[in-house]
């Protein structure tokens, strides 16, 4: 398959929109210190202030600048998102490729375990664990990754299996190539596109999870998170304050996820030629 994923994504409407949104969020995260004049954790005098010149989105219930929180919140989402995404992907590759190439009992065992995890709802497990272990950022990332690599592993295994039957892998085996060599030089390059798609899915899921868990009150209280902002804002829904506190956080979160959705849709379409063409996207 000689489709340049990058080109395909850039070509489709959805892809372009998605990428723009993502870039916006990434820019917000990276440039946060430049774009805001307050430290998000700093408590100033006035709490629940309306938006003004010095506080563009006003302040929250403990006097923190909401605009700053919004920007720094992007960092949390992206860090968790990409962190979980990468680790998930690596685990998925490790188990997916090995299961496909090694086969036999190992494959059977791995697949049963993978399927078992897929059936269990991730969030509930995290809630349980989080009740006991107060998770800080690294623990949260590891925990989420440990529970979300399975879906990708299945897909990667399937792809590897179909590649396994293809000629060039057999040919290299016939030259005496070891399994690791085969995986590195023959399998990975061919599944790169699918890995990318899985990665984007993973990031999206993780961003969603992190926000949700923060919303429930599970997460590192030291970190600024959009989920947490929404949770705090919720208690004050009887005041006007939700307009500039709740909504921006929610919208920021949604735009991030939408951006990821659109990009993954474009990537998916690039992979499956039947879905290409005559799309909005």
């Amino acid at each position: 398959m000689h489709i340049s994923l990058k080109k395909e994504i850039e070509r489709s409407n959805a892809g372009r929109v998605g990428l723009s949104l993502l870039l916006l969020v990434i820019a917000a995260a990276v440039l946060a210190p430049l774009l805001s004049s307050y430290d998000p954790g700093q408590q100033s005098v006035g709490s629940l202030l309306s938006p003004s010149g010095s506080h563009w989105l006003g302040t929250n219930h403990v006097g923190q600048d909401i605009w700053s929180q919004l920007l720094y919140g992007a960092r949390t989402s992206l860090m968790v998102g990409f962190g979980v995404g990468i680790i998930s992907l690596l685990l998925g590759i490790l188990f997916g490729v090995s299961a496909a190439l090694i086969g036999g009992l190992y494959d059977k065992i791995v697949m049963r375990v993978v399927d078992a995890f897929i059936v269990i709802p991730m969030v509930v497990v995290v809630i349980l664990v989080a009740a006991y272990i107060k998770p800080d950022l690294p623990v949260l990332i590891l925990l989420l990754a440990a529970l979300s690599w399975q879906g990708g592993a299945r897909v990667i295994r399937a792809q590897t299996l179909s590649l396994k039957e293809s000629g060039h892998i057999n040919a290299s085996r016939m030259f005496g190539a070891g399994r690791f060599y085969v995986a590195w030089r023959h399998v990975l390059p061919d599944i790169v596109t699918i890995l990318l798609v899985e990665f984007i899915y993973g990031v999206r899921r993780a961003v969603f999870m992190e926000a949700g868990l923060a919303f429930l009150g599970i997460g590192d209280p030291m970190l600024v998170s959009w989920g947490m902002m929404m949770r705090d804002a919720m208690s004050f829904s009887y005041l006007d304050v939700w307009q500039w506190w709740l909504v921006p956080a929610g919208v920021a979160l949604s735009l991030t996820i939408i951006g990821l959705t659109f990009v993954s849709h474009a990537a998916e379409a690039a992979l499956d030629p039947r879905l290409r063409g005559a799309e909005v996207a």
């Binding site: 959805a14 049963r112 375990v113 399927d115 078992a116 995890f117 897929i118 059936v119 269990i120 709802p121 991730m122 969030v123 509930v124 497990v125 809630i127 349980l128 664990v129 009740a131 006991y132 969603f208 926000a211 949700g212 919303f215 429930l216 009150g217 599970i218 929404m230 919720m234 829904s237 009887y238 939700w242 709740l246 909504v247 929610g250 979160l253 949604s254 735009l255 996820i257 939408i258 951006g259 990821l260 959705t261 659109f262 849709h265 039947r274 879905l275 063409g277 005559a278 799309e279 909005v280 996207a281």
Partner: protein
């Protein structure tokens, strides 16, 4: 399909849930009882009760004995005692479960029906304005987390427009019955169900649409057209019927997502289901309750998956029980 492979999977999942539930408190440093019940509670507990707990949990015995006691207790329906609610964990959860089932069930049915219907229409008219609009719209909708949707709905329809109630499953102390009770329940459940349905809809829609696009190219569609059948029959009886199947396959897996979503949505609407219960339990560090909820919810999802696996062959004749 139900077969040996799936049974193994479900068994592993079941064991994992049980094991995790068992091990979490016992792996914490310090007194296991304090891990199970929380320090604040222990302080207030009468010593005789504490001794009774130690005995029933077999806390001074080796691990495997503890596990045995744990399993035994479970089978007897004893999931521990919620100090906070002053009742057995089991009864507390059972009280909340029906509300969650109501919301999740309704959302599942609605989102599946609407999603499939829209997906069929979209796939049938692929490339048209209708299709492209629906696609863009639903993909965007897909990006909104359910709790945010819930919040927006609450604020717009509840706070601003005052059409729907702001919290709870029933109007408290109303003493309604019969038809007006049903109406009351529905009014309270309208927004949560809407939020959950909207969040879940897009996934169903996209899958159905994609399947529809593939199905329309299949040889039997040409055969059907040659038979001079009406467009309607082609769309629903032939293409539609085939396009529904993948959605039903993944319904089981997606159920987990719905349940999770319900957790968040209940929180937003203070809807007295298991989700809201979880939130309360976390706030008050009511460990036995958290554990009980975890167990019940996880196993419920497992059972639902199982049920879908059983039902699927009825709908897709290509799949049989024999493997």
């Amino acid at each position: 399909m139900l077969n040996r492979r799936n049974l193994v999977t479900y068994s592993i999942a079941f064991l994992f849930i049980l094991a995790l539930n068992f091990l979490m408190p016992r792996m914490m440093p310090g007194d296991p009882l304090s891990a199970i019940y929380g320090d604040e509670v222990l302080v207030a507990m009468a010593p005789e009760f504490k001794a009774h707990l130690v005995e029933s949990f077999a806390l001074d015995e080796p691990m495997w004995r503890q596990f045995g006691a744990y399993i035994l207790a479970l089978f007897q329906g004893d999931m521990g005692y919620s100090y906070y609610y002053n009742a057995s964990v089991f009864s507390v959860i059972i009280g909340s479960l029906p509300w969650t089932l109501l919301v999740v069930g309704s959302s599942l049915v609605l989102s599946t029906l609407i999603g499939i219907a829209l997906g069929i229409e979209s796939g049938w008219r692929r490339g048209s304005r209708t299709d492209r609009t629906m696609l863009a719209g639903l993909m965007s909708l897909n990006g909104f987390p359910d709790f945010f949707l819930g919040l927006v709905l609450l604020l717009v329809f509840g706070v601003l427009m005052g059409i729907f109630p702001l919290a709870g499953a029933l109007t408290p102390y109303s003493g309604l019955s019969g038809f007006s009770l049903v109406v009351d329940v529905m009014k309270h459940m309208a927004l949560p169900v809407t939020a959950l349905t909207l969040a879940h809809l897009a996934g169903v829609y996209l899958l159905t649409r994609n399947t529809m696009i593939t199905v329309l190219k299949a040889p039997f569609m040409l055969t059907a057209r040659a038979k001079g059948l009406s467009q309607r029959r082609l769309k629903y009886h032939h293409a539609g019927r085939n396009s529904m199947l993948p959605v039903l396959t993944v319904t089981g897996i997606w159920l987990g997502r719905l349940v999770t979503g319900a957790l968040f949505v209940e929180l937003v609407f203070a809807y007295p289901g298991v989700g809201y219960l979880t939130y309360q339990a976390l706030l008050t560090r009511d460990y036995p309750l958290i554990q009980g909820i975890f167990l019940i919810v996880a196993i419920a999802v497992l059972i639902a998956n199982f049920a879908v696996d059983l039902l699927y062959p009825k709908l897709d004749p290509r799949v049989s029980y024999a493997h």
